[in-house]
Symmetry: C2
Subunit: 243 residues, 2 copies
DNA sequence: CGCTAAGCGGGGACCGGCTCCCCGTTTGGT
DNA sequence: ACCAAACGGGGAGCCGGTCCCCGCTTAGCG
């Protein structure tokens, strides 16, 4: 691993999008140390928050971006009010889930390159790992409007992009990866192949995902077996449509 | 090409699901011949029916299985009442769209095998053609419950399956296609890769679909470049989850 | 050229599901 | 043991989709 803050977003309570550090009054009571820091998070509150986040990730992945919030709450084992207390609205929830997953995927990209024997092996490991993180299920949410311009999101995206870019470039430099493909090709195909097919509770399809990714990766190997139509998909191409 | 009624379903008005092919008698008068035969379809009625079907195919492909029917009507340039007059409910409409597309894809499979130089070339042609027919957009609808057991649908599915099965088997027999994959692998990956990514009006993504399919096909070529996890996906595997 | 009814179009009522709030109750923290 | 932060369930409000009703258009035919 090398850069990009990892662990924080994953588990830490971390102030919600909205609550800024506004309250100017501060010097007062015991719990609040810094100027206007929220007094304290209660133990079960943070636990519930994480349960909700986990359930939301599952539901969003299975059911899609328009999964009923009440159902997410039910699955998390909390009342719906609790969910709305932690995340003011749907987009806030999606926002945090997306950040969480992107962060983990970026970490996978960095770890893969650092730890695998060659760049192609790293690419394979990254690809399969990203699929396990259900990265494919996220694209619909990213595409579905919402927070396109949010700085946190942009930062996460950039981190992911550079990590994968490095992975691809290294593979091509070492002659292991065909040179007529771009980062965009990898990311789009990865998203598509790992997308859960609706209707199934991602129960059986999963068995196949890794097979198909492996087949795709075989097609990516260095001696190109065919000439591809169109031009390599760059990051700009993605940006214009996916984000 | 070899079997399976083709052209009829494509353009002909073709009796709706409900009205059976009862006409045993024929000799009688001009409009109403047999007991309760519909007198006649009016010219603009059949034209509207086709406009609706075409618009529905577009919308279902772009927006997904839950596209608003009123919007389909609007795009077809007819009133919503007209749509409901032709297709009593959503599932009837979807039913016809699915049949139409499956029929065309089956035809592509048969033609490809008959006309291409070798089985792998046939497989490539079929795959790209099926993507152009937006077969990927259909799976969600098939999965979304509805008419799983309808005989017309089962027949269409069987026809498609045998056609593709032949394609794959021939390729494997001739040593052009790796033998550790099954029809299911091809169909699922094809569906996934050709699925429109939501949010985009399938405008830009299309450019990439064929690139990625080609990459996947390269991975399918005969000297297998890796060992695949899991077992080849058979038709039974698909049946249990996709239909 | 005019008749007849099949077909058309738009507006609106019904309905189901999702969002979000309110208030009595529980529970963690000191 | 106290207090307030947090919880949970129930329900009002709302939005969007489905489907029907009625006056108008127009194809088909003598």
């Amino acid at each position: 691993m090398k850069s990009s803050a990892r662990t924080p977003a994953a588990t830490a309570p971390e102030a919600s999008v909205d609550l800024g550090a506004a309250p100017g009054c501060s010097a007062a009571a015991a719990p609040a140390a810094a100027p206007g820091r929220v007094p304290k998070p209660r133990a079960d509150a943070v636990r519930n928050r994480e349960r909700i986040l986990a359930a939301a990730r599952e539901m969003l992945v299975e059911t899609g971006a328009e999964a009923p919030l009440d159902e997410i709450a039910r699955r998390a084992g909390v009342g719906n009010a609790t969910l709305y207390r932690h995340f003011p609205d749907r987009s806030a929830l999606v926002h945090h889930v997306v950040l969480y997953v992107m962060d983990r995927v970026t970490a996978q990209a960095e770890d893969s390159l650092a730890e695998e024997v060659d760049a192609f092996a790293a690419l394979c490991r990254f690809t399969h790992a990203a699929a396990d993180e259900r990265i494919g299920a996220l694209c619909p949410m990213l595409a579905a409007g919402f927070d396109r311009e949010h700085p946190e999101l942009l930062a996460a995206r950039d981190a992911l992009e550079t990590a994968v870019e490095t992975l691809v470039a290294t593979g091509q430099r070492d002659g292991l990866l065909r040179t007529d493909i771009g980062v965009g090709d990898l990311m789009v195909a990865l998203s598509q192949l790992s997308r859960p097919l609706p209707g199934t509770d991602c129960g059986g399809a999963d068995r196949f995902v890794h097979r198909h990714l492996q087949l795709f990766l075989d097609g990516l190997r260095a001696p190109a077996r065919s000439q591809l139509p169109g031009a390599a998909a760059t990051l700009q191409d993605l940006r214009r449509k996916t984000m």
